[in-house]
């Protein structure tokens, strides 16, 4: 049996992806922020798929200490129960904030959660991905287009604009997948990002308010159900061949922004290593 790790797995696209993958017979390791929701989701999925192996881990991924802890826990779980092999990591957890807030590490919350958490977790799980010839899939979005990385103020301390911050975070997701591919595809680990399209999820309603909530409420009505992108994730994971393209819209290769290039990817990679300490030993053990 093959196993996948999905973050942001208690609602929206993450939850739907877990369901599609369980349907195909994959073992599911879900990560969610809320302990009650994790337990409830695990129970519901197990009820739906009595044969499947389903485990949920609770972690607030905006906090680096929590990412490292849950990474260690998942690794020992995978080593114990899944021969140390992972088929995929779906780095999907993400959010929006109406205001500039900092995590306990002092970093802007959306930057820390949407980008840095996936970066650090992928490093923690790299041995399992290598052993399983795995693939990393990152939930990006078409909103990564029409923006640039704000290198001078990547955490938006100067002028916080929820939409600009979110758009940048999705561009960072694509750059992260680019950098990951460059570094690890030679080791048998591939990477791609998926644009799920406009999906009816609650991402814009959690921990936001005012305008963000209002606009998202309007947009949500036009979105597709989360099952649609979930099937794309399942197809990319289940395919024999690892994903060839970097950027998919649904399960089809699509064009990404010209900002997604090696120069930006390398710059982001170095900054992310510096900010997360992912290249240091403590992150690996």
């Amino acid at each position: 049996m093959k196993t996948v790790v999905v973050t942001g797995a208690t609602s929206g696209i993450g939850l739907a992806a877990c369901r599609e993958l369980a349907k195909l017979g994959y073992g599911i390791i879900g990560v969610g922020r809320n302990a009650d929701r994790c337990a409830g989701t695990a129970e519901a999925l197990q009820g739906e798929f009595p044969e499947a192996s389903i485990a949920y881990f609770c972690a607030d991924l905006s906090r680096q200490a929590e990412v490292l802890r849950v990474g260690r826990e998942i690794r020992s779980h995978v080593e114990e129960k899944c021969e140390g092999k992972l088929r995929a990591l779906v780095s999907n957890a993400g959010g929006v904030r109406s205001y500039y807030t900092t995590t306990e590490d002092g970093y802007e919350t959306v930057f820390a959660l949407n980008h840095l958490a996936g970066f650090l977790l992928s490093h923690a799980l790299l041995p399992c991905l290598k052993a399983g010839g795995g693939r990393l899939l990152v939930t990006s979005s078409a909103s990564h287009k029409g923006t640039r990385v704000n290198w001078r103020d990547i955490m938006f301390r100067r002028r916080y604009n929820p939409l600009a911050v979110y758009k940048q975070s999705k561009l960072l997701n694509a750059l992260f997948a680019f950098g990951f591919r460059d570094r690890f595809s030679g080791l048998g680990v591939s990477a791609a990002c998926v644009d799920p399209g406009l999906v009816r999820t609650e991402i814009g309603l959690k921990d936001t308010g005012g305008l963000v909530k209002f606009v998202w409420g309007l947009r949500m009505k036009r979105g597709v159900e989360p099952e649609v992108p979930a099937r794309a994730f399942a197809r990319l994971i289940d395919a024999e061949e690892p994903p060839r393209a970097l950027y998919y819209r649904g399960a089809k290769p699509a064009r990404h922004s010209r900002q997604v290039n090696r120069k930006n990817a390398d710059r982001l990679w170095n900054l992310s290593e510096q900010l997360s300490g992912a290249h240091r030993e403590e992150a690996k053990t």
């Binding site: 906090r63 680096q64 200490a65 904030r97 109406s98 205001y99 500039y100 807030t101 900092t102 306990e104 590490d105 002092g106 970093y107 938006f156 301390r157 100067r158 916080y160 921990d207 936001t208 308010g209 005012g210 510096q274 900010l275 300490g277």
Partner: protein, 262 residues
């Protein structure tokens, strides 16, 4: 330039630390939580590469503050600025709280803050200018039923700050009282702001703007800073509307907000 910040692992303290580090200042950080302090210090070092000295300290404890000052002296630190951020806010009626909670507000917001200020002044440079910031609150502008102790403690800081500023002028020390409304420091604060509806949002000021302007104003020697136009208007109203009438209004508002949050 070296800046000392109390309550540095909390929402506002963290944001101040990031602002100062972005300006290239070295930091002496303290907080009750050693763990939180370690995390934020690591983040600052990684992001900005400034020197960060950290020592956890219960500032209500005389001896712990002695140790903190000894630590700073041992490290050969001389301070240019002190940001008194550490503070307690426990809402609720006077009788709904144990007296322990109430005296804790006074101990931290007033007594400990003054203790730290008194001691930190001994660490200032002999030749340079020294800046002190007290984090007071918009709540200092009027009597606030259901937050009576908190608001009064912040009033103490506001009056004290203005008086101390005058007293220390000849010592080349400037003192600023920061009087912010609600700030979205954490996810639960955002939810609390939303619970207050329109007025919650209108009195809310962006954290990154408040921290940036506070430091700039402190360096320019300003005395009082009320962030946000709506808040400034409220603070002026607080001076002209009779306190009894304000108390009546505030009581009505907080009662309904608390019902919404419950």
């Amino acid at each position: 330039m070296t800046v000392m910040i109390t309550g540095a692992a909390g929402g506002l303290g963290r944001a101040f630390a990031m602002e100062c580090a972005a300006r290239g200042h070295d930091l002496l950080l303290t907080d009750l939580s050693a763990e939180g302090l370690g995390r934020v210090s690591q983040g600052i070092r990684r992001l900005y590469g400034v020197r960060v000295f950290e020592k956890s300290c219960d500032i209500t404890d005389e001896r712990a503050v002695d140790e903190l000052i000894a630590y700073a002296n041992g490290a050969g630190l001389r301070l240019d600025m002190l940001l008194n951020v550490a503070g307690l806010d426990r809402e609720g009626g006077f009788l709904e709280r144990g007296f322990g909670d109430i005296s804790a507000i006074l101990r931290v917001n007033v007594e400990a803050t003054l203790r730290v200020t008194h001691r930190a002044l001994s660490l200032r440079r002999a030749d340079g200018r020294f800046h002190i910031v007290f984090v007071s609150s918009l709540a200092s502008m009027y009597p606030m039923p259901l937050k009576a102790t908190y608001a009064a403690s912040k009033r103490f800081l506001l009056d004290f700050s203005i008086a101390l500023g005058r007293e220390l002028e000849r010592e080349n020390v400037s003192v600023l009282a920061l009087c912010p409304g609600g700030m979205p420091t954490r996810d639960d604060c955002i939810r609390a702001i939303e619970a207050q509806g329109f007025w919650g949002r209108a009195t809310t000021t962006a954290l990154e703007t408040v921290t940036r302007r506070t430091i700039a104003k402190a360096l320019r020697g300003k005395k009082v800073y009320v962030p946000g136009a709506v808040n400034l208007l409220f603070s002026i109203l607080g001076k002209v509307v009779p306190p009894l009438a304000v108390a009546k209004l505030v009581y009505r508002r907080w009662s309904s907000v608390q019902k919404k949050l419950a």
